[in-house]
């Protein structure tokens, strides 16, 4: 029987523990990438993620694809090499405002002007996060940081403007809180042939919390965000009563109210093929243009380079690297031994400034809303069912009997001292037992169980349980007390029905 293997988000999740600060915008971007890739219909082994250095650059560890955590600022360069040597790959560059625009400023320009067929995701949080809060090249004038205690006097770079100037053929902007829109832009970027550049406005919850609140806050964003659609008038605002009109005197866009003086016909149409409009849009901050700002088709670097290689080979035949190296002025340098004495002065303190982070984390959240209410509900409120347990050395036959008798899909495997050792579910029976040549009277539960299952404590939030189940597609989650003794199991049914009842 022919079977088509369909990829899901889970196929792109690695076994690494994701280590960003709780509340970091990076989590949403990671989730969106993992949700978007399966839509592309590209086999998993064709994806490569290349990053530089920074918080965002930890990304390749969390993707179950090929990837390189590379050299600071040089991710576009490595990616160019990867794409050039194997044009069949879908190559993604993950970088941040520091990595791409400070140390990597020159590399990003050349990727742009060459129009290499890459997808560059720039996580812009307007701060150096990994080094604990210094000025970045995108920090606005006046930003007070540890390295600019009296306020920044530097004009910031606008990533979209830089990308346009460098010659990128797809330039877009999105924001971490709008996962649906972000996913669509990533999808379009992946389909684009040529350099696709996406600026993602991302919140650094520790060192620059709220940098984008004007555009991400649910109350403010309707009035401040402009969602660009090709061929549609650039209208925005909660009541869609404001728009952009080209102001020929000032040489830029101006915001007008749609009503008496201006009608909807007067509002400028978004044309993503116009570089001029794209530049004007790149300088706006009210409203903030989100979506595909610029997109045109131009020959890519790989097409050009491979075309040239074919052409030269046809004219001159295969080359010889040895001849190339030794064909002209070459000579040998005799080594003169020189001893260098390295001296280490002082000790580098690598420990985190815990007190400082605690102080920052202690800042109260701006508003309590339904999502937070949801986050404050715990599994204790959900009253999980008592678990049906089994010993690891019990026979599988007994496990099957227990599941059938109780009509349940999961048993917790518990040691004699009541520690949770594993879980065995109907999915394990389907995958590892059914149809196989196994005598259920001869094998024990521990041979088939999933060891060290993810368990949640009773005081974990319901939101966390939702998070685990939707991400990992677990239908059962063990619940444990503080001694890691199992006290219950919650199923996807329990969770769905509880949430419907209580919200």
């Amino acid at each position: 029987m022919a079977t088509e293997i369909k990829l899901t988000r889970k196929d792109f999740m690695s076994d690494q523990t994701v280590r960003w600060c709780p509340g970091c915008g990076d989590y949403a971007i990671l989730a969106t990438v993992q949700k978007t890739l399966p839509r592309l219909g590209i086999p998993k082994e064709k994806f490569v993620f290349v990053s530089g250095i920074g918080c965002s650059s930890r990304f390749p560890y969390y993707m179950d694809t090929y990837g390189i955590h590379s050299i600071h600022g040089r991710a576009p360069t490595l990616a160019t090499g990867i794409k050039l040597s194997n044009p069949d790959l879908s190559v993604w560059v993950i970088t941040g405002d520091g990595d791409a625009l400070s140390i990597g400023g020159n590399h990003i320009l050349h990727a742009g002007r060459r129009n290499v067929d890459l997808n560059i995701l720039l996580f812009n949080n307007r701060i150096y996060g990994l080094t604990k809060g210094q000025l970045s090249p995108t920090s606005p004038v006046g930003t007070k940081t540890k390295s600019s205690p009296y306020g920044s006097i530097e004009r910031p770079l606008y990533p979209v403007e830089v990308a346009l100037a460098s010659g990128a053929t797809f330039v877009a902007r999105t924001i971490d809180v709008l996962q649906k829109e972000m996913g669509e832009i990533m999808y379009q970027a992946a389909l684009h042939k040529g350099l696709a550049f996406i600026e993602i406005m991302q919140n650094c919850v520790i060192f620059n919390n709220g940098a984008w609140f004007d555009y991400s806050d649910r109350k403010k964003r309707a009035d401040n965000d402009l969602f660009l659609e090709a061929g549609k008038p650039m209208v925005f605002g909660k009541n869609r009563d404001k728009g952009l009109v080209l102001d020929e005197e000032q040489g830029g866009f101006k915001v007008v109210e749609i009503g008496e003086e201006y009608s909807i016909e007067d509002i400028t149409i978004h044309d993503p093929t116009s570089l001029e409009n794209a530049f004007l849009l790149s300088q706006l901050d009210y409203p903030m243009p989100l979506g595909i700002i610029y997109q045109v088709t131009k020959p890519t670097y790989c097409e050009g380079m491979w075309g040239q290689i074919q052409q030269v080979k046809a004219q001159k035949g295969e080359g010889d690297l040895h001849d190339l190296y030794f064909n002209a002025d070459t000579w040998e340098v005799t080594a003169e031994e020189e001893e260098i004495k390295a001296e280490v002065r002082g000790q580098v303190d690598a420990s985190l400034d815990e007190a400082y982070i605690d102080e920052l984390l202690g800042v109260e959240a701006p508003e309590a809303d339904l999502a937070e209410q949801l986050a404050s509900m715990t599994l204790h409120d959900l009253k999980p069912k008592a678990p049906i347990t089994i010993r690891p050395d019990a026979l599988m036959d007994h496990a099957l009997h227990l599941m059938r008798e109780h009509g349940i899909g999961a048993l917790l495997v518990v040691s004699p001292d009541r520690h949770l050792m594993g879980i065995i579910t109907e999915a394990d029976i389907l995958d590892r037992v059914a149809g196989k040549d196994i005598d259920l009277h001869q094998v024990t539960v521990q041979e088939f169980m999933t060891t060290e299952p993810v368990a949640l404590p009773l005081y974990a939030s319901v939101l966390e349980a939702v998070h685990f189940m939707t991400q990992r597609r677990f239908r059962h989650l063990p619940v444990v007390d503080e001694n890691l003794h199992p006290v219950g199991v919650i199923s996807s049914r329990d969770l769905a029905e509880f949430l419907i009842k209580h919200l």
Partner: protein
């Protein structure tokens, strides 16, 4: 936000209905098992000439197949649940949930008038929907708990 109102308005077709695979009614139980194992599919919808005639899930495997080798060579139509409860595309998420709770089932296939399959509504459809309702606090903003460290090293 009134979530219940949202679920009453949300058409099932707007939700994630991808938690299924399809098999042909002519297949044997063994064929279906192999497909489910290879694709990690938990819920197989059985089709005859493109129309839904039954459903076969991991629960059926647990109850009828796991310790019964004789079952493997039977046609899937012998072991599936025939004529499962379905809903049309006009149904809302709230309808689907009500059916699931009332009949105590985990899968509600969504079908066209001609019996062809649109998708499969499960509890994950609802959980995914709920997850999307809270974009301001991304659901993924929590480190893994318990904070177990991976046995493999990673750098950075």
């Amino acid at each position: 936000m009134d979530l219940l109102a949202g679920l009453k308005q949300e058409s099932v077709t707007e939700m994630d209905l991808s938690d299924y695979c399809t098999v042909d009614a002519s297949a044997s139980v063994r064929d279906v098992l192999t497909q489910m194992q290879v694709t990690h599919c938990r819920n197989a919808l059985v089709l005859q000439e493109g129309k839904l005639v039954g459903i076969f899930t991991d629960r059926d495997v647990l109850m009828k197949v796991a310790d019964n080798k004789d079952a493997l060579d039977k046609p899937i139509t012998d072991l599936m649940t025939p004529d499962p409860v379905t809903l049309s595309k006009a149904a809302t998420a709230a309808d689907a949930l009500a059916v699931m709770a009332r009949k105590h089932i985990r899968n509600v296939p969504i079908v066209e008038d001609d019996g062809s399959v649109v998708g499969n509504f499960t509890h994950f459809s609802v959980l995914d929907f709920l997850a999307e309702q809270f974009p301001d606090i991304p659901l993924d903003s929590y480190p893994v708990y318990p904070r177990r460290f991976s046995r493999r090293r990673h750098g950075g």
